[in-house]
Amino acid sequence: MRPYTYAAPGTVREALALAGDGSAYLAGGTTLVDLVKLEVMTPEHVLDITRLPLRGVAVRDGALRIGALERMADVAEHPLVAGPYPVLAEALLRSASPQIRNMATIGGNLLQRTRCGYFRDTASACNKRVPGSGCPALTGENRMHAILGTSDACAATHPSDLAVALVALDASVHLASRDGERSVKLADFYLLPGGTPEKENALRPGELITSVSVPALAWAERSTYVKVRDRSSYEFALTSAAVALDLRDGVVRAARVAAGGVGTRPWRLPAVEAALTGAPAREDAFEAAAAKAADGARPLAHNAFKPELLRRTVVRALLELAGRS
């Protein structure tokens, strides 16, 4: 760990004023402190933002708004989340462990870094950590890596479960910087690795996530997050599916489908959504729609199973929703 300075600003304005080159915001610390100890992240100034007033879960103008500093555990249990958006609550509850969910924040969750083992090991090359140094994952260990959105420079999975659910729900992040405030669709917030895997999102230097909002979607009550993993709990996804269904009289009127564990960013599946629209709520129709889930996939040596597992994960989520009264 490299020595760094520490400050705990009390207001957003103060935080933004202190932010600069080599600074990092500290929220729950469950990603940042880990990576600082590993010397994967080496901030010179740590700005503890946990005193900022970026809290609250509320519905405003029909949209659900969640403060960036809300804890994962609290959000998962919040009545404005658990009832209307089961997919969000389930994605959160299937993340990490209770101890981590008690510490970790929503903003931090969206900015967590990949779990690629080479990224986390400073003895290894890694284009994301040291641009241009190479990507050992492409020929090395890559069972957990992405099959969608990869490039010849990087195939790291975006690990957040919550982000997958939020992308399915068309959520936006709200940002603040010294230049003012702006909002970005979460789906556009994350960048593909291309030739610059070190650039992961649209955040500008010093910019803060202040909140996340989810537009109203009445039928999101019928939504779920299916997470497939080797271990029953406390593990990242091999594959996951965030699905919401507007189902009436045995027919799918509209659907939202996004996938995790497979993409270099949370992966919305519009082709699957389109194929589901108007389809009967039956397994064969679900299979036909899910067949498109892994279109364009580029599997690596150890994750050749992921396209098939992804298709099945989507079918499973659809069946679970169709089975709900």
Partner: protein, 738 residues
């Protein structure tokens, strides 16, 4: 003898200390002037160190020294055969050669842990690298014969049978398949750690180990000091599983650095470092061929195991499992540039029973027999290799009772017949076996004037409950409540047997039976000594009596109308204590009998029909281990073994990169072990048939037993649920997507 406590499900005597944090593990010791060591590990697997630049690290805040082969802490190579074979023949930092990825190449010692760690990141090492051999499966075809006294082939042929292939050719049916598993790591909760301090030429070191005496010997050899100048203290050990049976460089380097710096040094290896700076369980590749008659009678078993370690022989379980006239069991070894291998819970048997017990399930299916029926048709009442009858074996009862408790009769033989919603449900079973071992251990029993008795044995409590068993053994033999016994273990100065392997401590599931016989004998002699003191000390009320006229019962001496508790007696005579130290004579009749611990596992799994996750939903284990000394801690051992084996079956495995020799998942995020959500309630049932030909208390060991068979029971249940047979562990969802 009065049976006061043996068999009772007693709480651990140290349970409160452990859950309140009062128990002091090695790293909890913080003597004044403590410095902290942190290791720099190699980032190549094979080659030599061209240069080490320690200048920046040496100049970093708080740094006291940076050691490496260029500025060495001299350690002598180990001489004991145990360290040679199951430990490190080569101590770290003694030369410029890199033998595996993650080898210790430098050690930074600083005032604080953080300073040492941060400075370690400033050490730069340059290598002349060579391509390593790190691909186990690629090495399997060219594997060599073993070179040590271990792993000799076992060949037993019936009269007139020229070789095993002839026996197989003459069999009505044969089944052959390959069963593989990746390397496994012990991952004890407590990493290897040590706090070392010197006083003149004498070393005191707090360090958890499975055998404090062996640990002291290893340290003395490495440091070039007499063994009596090394005092190892480790009453609490946070898990060993074989990984702390011998001593590893981190501990030796802590002691050497403390000597060089003339101040106490603490070393705590990190979770990540543990994967490479200590030993692990070898990968294995086991080809099992069974020959049988159509009625299921086994006619031949041929096993060819390939590992990276001569001491773990997965070919060996047929020497203890079934009656069979022809056996051919062989081991071959692949040499790789990877971290050291060592013994791990149920060495050889863990991987070996996975293969054998899956093969038996497959044979049963082929023959249309119930898996229990197939096993009963090959029931061994004598040990298959030595031909000696088992003194006490009730495995048949384990099958019967287990089937009953588990509801085995509800199992459908046809795979994929039972579903529960989207989940396929299956049942599987397997035998678990482990030949029994015990050592002629030494013990010291000391009556003390304060009315308590110290019962001491040179072994360790790895979390098993050995300290409690030690107290119970003393209480039982002396007729005292457990509360009046002061158990002592985990200290190299406690008595060791002059001969034999008892100085190895808690290995081979031998601790309990070793403790029982040692304490039994020492307590008997302590009573004799107490009586001798009573009749010879002038201040004693029994003074001048004939020793034969004084009787001991439940802590009280009686004779000639006089009566005194031992505390009262010793207070009266002004004697702090009276003790005896003895080495037990083993009562077991190994010339005429064989001894075995066995049991039956039953598992139910659920496998998602679409996404293939296999989840354990029910487990029953019925165990025949002779007398159960403490039902509670014994249950902990059995259930704990099930958890570990569930990891073996479904989750665990190090991934060694073939090209680099780097372990890609050397951390707890990527090397998965079971969490609570993976483990259902485990139904453990013990038969209680004392094996009194083994020792007077009739207790055999059981610590490693559920390291055997469980993985096969799970794999067999998964086959029953899905119709997919997976022979390559761990059984992850991707393998069940058919």
């Amino acid at each position: 003898m009065t049976r006061t406590s043996l068999g009772a499900p007693l709480d651990r005597v140290d349970g409160r200390a452990k859950v309140t944090g009062a128990a002091r593990y090695a790293a909890d010791n913080n003597p004044a002037g403590l410095a902290h060591g942190y290791f720099v590990l190699s980032t190549i697997a094979k080659g030599t160190i061209r240069s080490i630049d320690a200048a920046r690290a040496s100049a970093a805040p708080g740094v006291l020294a940076v050691y490496s082969h260029a500025n060495p802490l001299r350690l002598l190579p180990p001489r004991s055969y145990i360290a040679q074979f199951i430990g490190e023949p080569q101590r770290a930092m003694q030369d410029a050669v890199v033998r595996h990825y993650g080898q210790i190449v430098a050690m930074v010692v600083a005032e604080t842990f953080e300073q040492a760690r941060d400075a370690a990141a400033l050490v730069t090492v340059e290598y002349d690298a060579q391509p390593p051999a790190a691909d186990f499966l690629a090495g399997v075809p060219g594997a060599r014969d073993p070179q040590t006294p271990f792993g000799h082939p076992v060949t037993i042929l019936a009269d007139g049978v020229p070789d095993i292939d002839a026996a197989l050719a003459a069999s009505e049916v044969t089944h052959t398949a390959v069963y593989t598993q990746p390397p496994e790591h012990h991952n004890p909760m407590e990493p290897h750690s040590a706090v070392a301090m010197w006083d003149g030429g004498k070393l005191t070191i707090h360090s958890g180990s499975q055998g404090p005496a062996l640990h002291a010997l290893d340290l003395a050899e490495g440091l070039g000091v007499p063994q009596e100048d090394v005092h190892v203290i480790g009453p609490y050990v946070g898990g060993g599983f074989g990984g702390k049976a011998t001593s590893w460089s981190p501990t030796l380097l802590a002691a050497a650095a403390a000597r060089a710096l003339r101040r106490p040094v603490k070393v705590v290896t990190t979770r990540e470092q543990l994967f490479t700076v200590t030993g692990h369980r070898t990968a294995s590749h086991l080809t099992v061929t069974l020959g049988a008659r159509r009625d299921g009678t086994l006619t031949a078993v041929k096993n060819l195991a390939v590992t990276t370690f001569e001491i773990e022989n997965p070919a060996s379980p047929p020497t203890a499992a079934y009656k069979c006239p022809n056996l051919d069991l062989r081991l071959k070894v692949v040499d790789l540039d990877i971290p050291r291998r060592t013994i791990m819970r149920a060495p050889g048997y863990a991987a070996g029973t996975f293969g054998l017990e899956c093969a038996m399930d497959e044979l049963a299916h082929e023959l249309g027999l119930d898996p229990i029926e197939l096993r009963m048709r090959n029931y061994a009442t004598a040990s298959p290799d030595k031909g000696l009858p088992y003194a006490s074996k009730h495995l048949d009862e384990c099958y019967r009772v287990g089937a009953e408790r588990f509801g085995w009769s509800r199992r459908k033989a046809e795979p994929r017949s039972v579903t529960d919603g989207q989940w396929l449900v299956g049942m599987g079973m397997a035998t678990c076996v482990l030949p029994s071992s015990q050592h002629a251990g030494a013990a010291r029993v000391r009556f003390r004037a304060n009315g308590t008795v110290e019962v001491a044995c040179n072994t360790a409590d790895l979390g098993t409950g050995a300290m409690t068993v030690l107290a119970m053994a003393g209480a039982d033999r002396l007729g005292l409540p457990v509360g009046r016994i002061r158990p002592a273990l985990g200290d190299s100065t406690l008595p060791v047997a002059a001969e034999g392997d008892s100085f190895m401590g808690a290995v081979g599931s031998a601790a309990t039976s070793t403790i029982l016989s040692a304490v039994h004998d020492a307590a008997g002699e302590a009573i004799t000594a107490l009586i001798a003191h009573a009749v010879s000390d002038a201040r004693s009320p029994f003074h001048g009596m004939d020793a034969q006229d004084v009787r001991y019962s439940s802590g009280v001496l009686e004779g000639g109308g006089r009566r005194a508790g031992f505390g009262e007696l010793l207070t009266t005579t002004g004697t702090p204590g009276v003790e005896a130290v003895t080495t037990a004579t083993l009562g077991e009749d190994t010339e005429r009998y064989a001894f075995i611990t066995s049991g039956a596992h039953f598992c139910e799994v659920r496998v998602h029909r679409l996404t293939g996750e296999a989840r354990l939903s029910r487990v029953t284990c019925v165990v025949d281990a002779g007398t159960i000394v403490n039902g509670k801690t014994a249950r902990g051992q059995i259930a704990g073994g099930v958890v570990m084996s569930a990891g073996q079956a479904l989750l665990e495995g190090a991934y060694v990169e073939p090209a680099t020799g780097r372990i890609a998942n050397a951390n707890f995020a990527d090397y998965l072990v079971p969490v609570n959500a993976d483990i259902p309630a485990v139904d453990v049932h013990f038969l209680d048939h004392p094996d009194t030909r083994y020792n007077p208390q009739g207790a055999r060991g059981l610590g490693e037993l559920t390291g055997t068979g469980v993985a096969a029971a799970i794999a067999n249940a998964i086959y029953n649920a899905t119709g997919t047979r997976v022979r390559d562990l761990p059984i992850t969802p991707d393998k069940l997507l058919s």
